[in-house]
């Protein structure tokens, strides 16, 4: 089974995320970059599938030079190879363009399964897996909390607002997984060492045959008009409980007309 896992380097969860004044894009330089946490579940799922069915796992990422480090970290969980799409022309691409880039990198490589996490912790759009499936004309099985593959038949449970739907399709498929599907393994020391030697292919937009007019900030189909930091909240009242703390909250709720 040939599996691709698409991952993203995002600002560290603990870092403050800021938009840059000149470009209205996310500052990806000041904060530390880490592997998008939810992608770990996708990588783990890929590794489990290969353990059960044999095959290989390729980690794919589109990101600036520094994303190479995150790609190696992802590979160190146990993947076999990487693809790093890196090109200044891609900076500021919206989801529409990003999905086009990823689709170009993924097509023609006979992947049986293309896995994603359910969202990135910076943009939190949850649209890339569906967009990539759209562009590749592949089956889309997203927000999966459970996955079973027997031969080329895929059965999954897709999380819904009222429970879950059971879906079936045939491979190849684009899949996104939710956190509850598995427990990602920690990279072993052996995995970390081995990752340094695993083959990583780097690709530019020219390598992918992408029209530069269709990618990058200028090509985006939406724009930021303006942005501002949320005004800080005026400081509230904090008291120490001396036996009637609960009652004082009830007073606050009464005064603010909640009860």
């Amino acid at each position: 089974m040939k599996i691709a896992v698409c991952v993203k380097q995002v600002p560290d969860t603990w870092a403050e995320k800021k938009l840059m004044a000149e470009t209205s894009t996310l500052d990806r330089v000041s904060p530390d970059g880490v592997l998008n946490e939810l992608d770990e579940y996708a990588i783990e799922q890929a590794l489990q599938l290969v353990e059960a069915h044999g095959g290989e796992v390729v980690i794919v990422t589109m990101g600036p030079e520094r994303a190479a480090e995150t790609l190696r970290k992802a590979i160190s969980m146990g993947a076999d190879a990487g693809i790093h799409i890196v090109d200044d022309k891609l900076a500021g691409s919206d989801a529409i363009a990003t999905s086009a880039v990823l689709a170009k990198a993924l097509e023609g490589r006979d992947f049986d399964v293309i896995l994603f996490g359910s969202e990135s912790t910076d943009a939190r759009m949850s649209v890339i897996p569906a967009m990539v499936a759209e562009r590749l004309g592949l089956a889309q099985v997203t927000f999966a909390q459970k996955l079973d593959i027997v031969g080329t038949t895929l059965t999954a449970e897709r999380v819904t607002d009222y429970g879950f739907d059971t879906l079936t399709t045939s491979l190849p498929a684009v899949i996104s997984v939710v956190e509850k599907i598995n427990e990602p393994r920690y990279p072993s020391f052996k995995g970390i060492m081995a990752a340094k030697k695993k083959p990583v292919e780097t690709l530019t937009s020219a390598d992918l045959g992408l029209d530069p007019a269709l990618v990058g900030a200028a090509a985006a189909w939406s724009e930021v008009v303006d942005f501002a930091a949320r005004p800080p909240k005026p400081a509230g009242v904090v008291i120490t409980d001396e036996g009637s703390g609960g009652i004082s909250i009830a007073d606050y709720l009464t005064n603010s007309k909640f009860i």
Binding site: A130, T160, Y162, A229, I249
Partner: protein, 317 residues
């Protein structure tokens, strides 16, 4: 006046609150036309949609639509973008909503903006990003604006109209039928409101100390008809189910009132509740960062303060 296409968010015949928020938002941009995918749109639903100003309800309830996830919906939306030429398409920020929006954006060559908390008459969208720390104004610059809207951010207001009903049947391609829904399972949620839609949320964190401790959190929630939330620490420890996690990798909530009990307020959690209108905090650590968000806070033992609060609410009702 232009029409605005609104995708109804519903579970069978039950219309979700966010749909009325979408129809209300649509009114600022044009005349709302609601698209209902799948079965369940009866007279009651049509009347309800009309009471928020929908002028038309288009029903697409073929088995092609209900037997296959997302893609048939996206094909229908793309088709309607072409035939109706709406001023915008408004969809809820749900899993289905986002993915139908995403795929129809590509099909129709349109820009997409997600998780809007406000939409102005000129199409400018307000987004609250990075855990609520930054407010952004954005616009779609190509094609028909496709906007997903965060539930519980826009107030639904009534405007009585009489909605005309039209059954539509648009051919669905084979490629939209690659995946089949073989079963729909409803997981009993209990009587509490949906986290993402709730007006009041009462949460518990590490300070709750264990699954049993959540009993007092639930009792406080029930006294206020609130939803129950939990921090990552509590759900990771198995003290409360994952689906109730509020935070960066959990749900984002924007209630009128958020009561955080035994939660320290690390960025992970704050990202999920930072835009709550009023925040009340109970924590025995006076240095907990969450006090920075508090409109009212009590430094104390939640095992004393919370039951006392619940009892007092009971007396005052």
């Amino acid at each position: 006046m232009s029409e605005v296409l609104v995708l109804a968010e519903h579970h069978e015949s039950e219309i979700r609150k966010v749909t009325f928020e979408l129809v209300t938002a649509a009114r600022a941009l044009g005349t709302p036309v609601v698209l209902w995918l799948g079965p369940g749109c009866g007279d009651a639903a049509i009347a309800a949609l009309g009471s928020y100003g929908a002028s038309k309800v288009l029903i697409a309830d073929s088995t092609d639509v209900s037997d296959h996830p997302v893609v048939p919906g996206a094909e229908i939306v793309a088709h309607l973008i072409d035939s109706i030429q709406p001023a915008a398409v408004l969809v809820a920020s749900s899993a289905d909503g986002k993915e139908i929006a995403a795929r129809s954006a590509i099909k129709s060559g349109s820009g997409i903006l997600t998780d809007a908390v406000e939409i102005a008459a000129d199409g400018t969208v307000t987004q609250s990003v990075f855990g609520g720390s930054t407010i952004v104004h954005s616009k779609v610059t190509h094609g028909t604006p496709i906007i997903t809207v965060r539930p519980n951010s826009i107030s639904a207001t009534e405007l009585l109209a009489s909605a005309v009903v039209e059954k539509i049947s648009i051919g669905i391609t084979d490629s939209a039928k690659l995946v089949s829904v073989t079963k729909r399972s409803v997981v009993a949620k209990g009587a509490r409101p949906e986290l993402a839609e709730a007006d009041v949320v009462v949460s518990g964190g590490r300070g709750v100390g264990g699954a049993e401790g959540f009993g007092i959190i639930e009792a406080l929630a029930d006294s206020l008809n609130a939803a129950v939330g939990a921090s990552r620490a509590a759900t990771d420890a198995g003290w409360y189910p994952h689906q109730f996690q509020v935070g960066q990798t959990g749900k984002t909530v924007s209630p009128s009132l958020y009561i955080a009990n035994g939660i320290s307020g690390a960025i992970q959690h704050r990202a999920g509740m930072q835009t709550s209108k009023v925040v009340i905090v109970v924590n025995k650590d006076s240095e907990a960062p969450i006090f920075e968000l508090a409109d009212y806070g009590v430094v104390g033992d939640l095992f004393t303060v919370v039951p006392q609060l619940t009892a007092e609410i009971g007396k005052r009702k």
